[in-house]
Assembly symmetry: C2
Homo-oligomer: 284 residues x 2
């Protein structure tokens, strides 16, 4: 199944107050039938790992994912994207001024990109940027045979590791094929963690408001930052899962724009590793 990423610009026609989770603007435009009406069923579906991503709104390359509503001046160019499975009517022109509970926006379509997962970028080193907070479930790393015993345990606030990232991207990929293989995702989590070489990282926890319910603010915790690591030779093929993840996100709450990642792939060659970790044991 191919995936398409539709990139949009939204410009408020007057000053607006955006909700903390700014993906709600695009979600409203889909659900009200103004934009991409064929996605309504997918948006409201309760399926796990569904092949859909609605990004938060961005300004100057930073996504607005916040704890409080935010004021945005009229005329500010906000960027966003929606990713979904390619279908005959999936690529449609989008242009117009639309009203939402969050204000009025002029919406322009900038590009459609179609993911070719059979042409993953060449390289053994990948930097994964967490463009919005990522929430990777710790339970991916539980042996599936123990799932019944520990149902409902674990946490979605975890420290992203190469294995958790690859296994989460694999889950997203499974959402396309609708064939779920918990043994493979468990093995990926464990083996990629054991055999990868972390090159560098920056990570910090962030708290995200998910909106109000009654007089309580629903919050969640995620991680922003990036990690650069070398994929083990045996797992270079997992780059295609990361590619899918760069369209559809990874981890929990992708439907509201969390788990957005971007990739930078390089080829460092094995020899350069010695400079990075003097104490490392020699490769056999």
């Amino acid at each position: 199944m191919e995936i398409v990423k539709a990139s949009l610009t939204l410009i408020p026609t007057r000053d607006v107050i955006l909700p903390p989770v700014t993906s709600k603007v695009l979600k409203y435009l889909i659900m009200s039938g103004e934009l991409f009406p064929f996605l309504r069923d997918l948006v409201s579906s309760r399926d796990k790992h569904k092949p859909l991503f609605i990004s938060n709104l961005g300004v100057n390359g930073r996504r607005l994912v916040l704890m409080k509503p935010v004021h945005v001046s009229r005329g500010t160019a906000l960027d966003a994207f929606i990713s979904y499975p390619l279908r005959p009517d999936a690529i449609t022109p989008v242009n117009g001024v639309f009203n939402t509970p969050y204000g009025e926006f002029q919406v322009t379509l900038n590009s459609f990109m179609v993911l070719d997962e059979f042409q993953p970028p060449q390289g053994n080193v990948v930097r994964v940027n967490f463009v919005s907070p990522v929430l990777l479930s710790s339970m991916i790393g539980l042996p599936p045979s123990l799932n019944p015993r520990f149902r409902g345990r674990g946490s979605n606030f975890t420290i992203p590791s190469p294995g958790l990232i690859i296994a989460s991207a694999y889950k997203t990929h499974q959402g396309l094929t609708r064939r779920f293989d918990d043994v493979k995702s468990f093995k990926l989590a464990v083996l990629v963690n054991a055999l990868s070489k972390v090159i560098n990282f920056r990570m910090r926890p962030v708290t995200v408001s998910l909106g109000e319910r009654g007089d309580k603010v629903r919050k969640t915790r995620g991680v922003k930052g990036w990690i650069e690591f070398e994929l083990p030779p045996e797992f270079r093929g997992t780059m295609k899962y990361l590619m899918v993840g760069s369209y559809l996100g990874i981890g929990r709450s992708r439907g509201i724009g969390l788990g957005e990642i971007s990739l930078e792939v390089k080829d460092l060659g094995a020899s350069s590793k010695a400079d990075l970790s003097g104490e490392q044991e020699p490769r056999s």
Copy 2:
């Protein structure tokens, strides 16, 4: 086997230039027979996971682990500690002025503490502070059956997770009993990661010089910062491994003072978790 932690103050009698890995000062004093002469064999032993920790020198609660030699003014109080197995002659008075290749130091013994691992602190939440950079081997998380196939792979520069920390502390504990169980350390790494709840963390990678060899500076990468997490009920007993880790360190290069940790144990109770992660699934 009981462990003792001997805390010392070292005051340079003149301005000194300390090496980047400041634990070398104490190591020299042991190897030259001036301090704790009974530790010489242990210091020079090539055993893995040996029950010995020589800390770096600290000023105002910060350990000096650096990329370049550092100037310290005479009269500055430097603190340090050595941990080792308790033995009849292990607790000896220490007081005097000693010469080293790094300058002359007045050394005073402040305290001996004996670890009682059968009295671990009560609580389900632990904050592990990385007092010096930690280097946790990714290979702890490899199923032991695959060890022969992947020998020499993986990395010691990893992102500390609850499972890696507990499994590394267990390895340190095994160094006391000299009974090694790679299946148990693997299981701890995997299951503690899957079932723990991270509460908060701050982490940053640091580069440490290990000294010069010819005209090349040997470097390694580690992680500073801290992580706070809730131990799963099934693994509360692992607190005793962390206790041992707080005396003997965790991970690689403990012999030169890397992997020093301190602990803060709290009891938060299960209900408070809901505030920290609004999206979390209910506990069964």
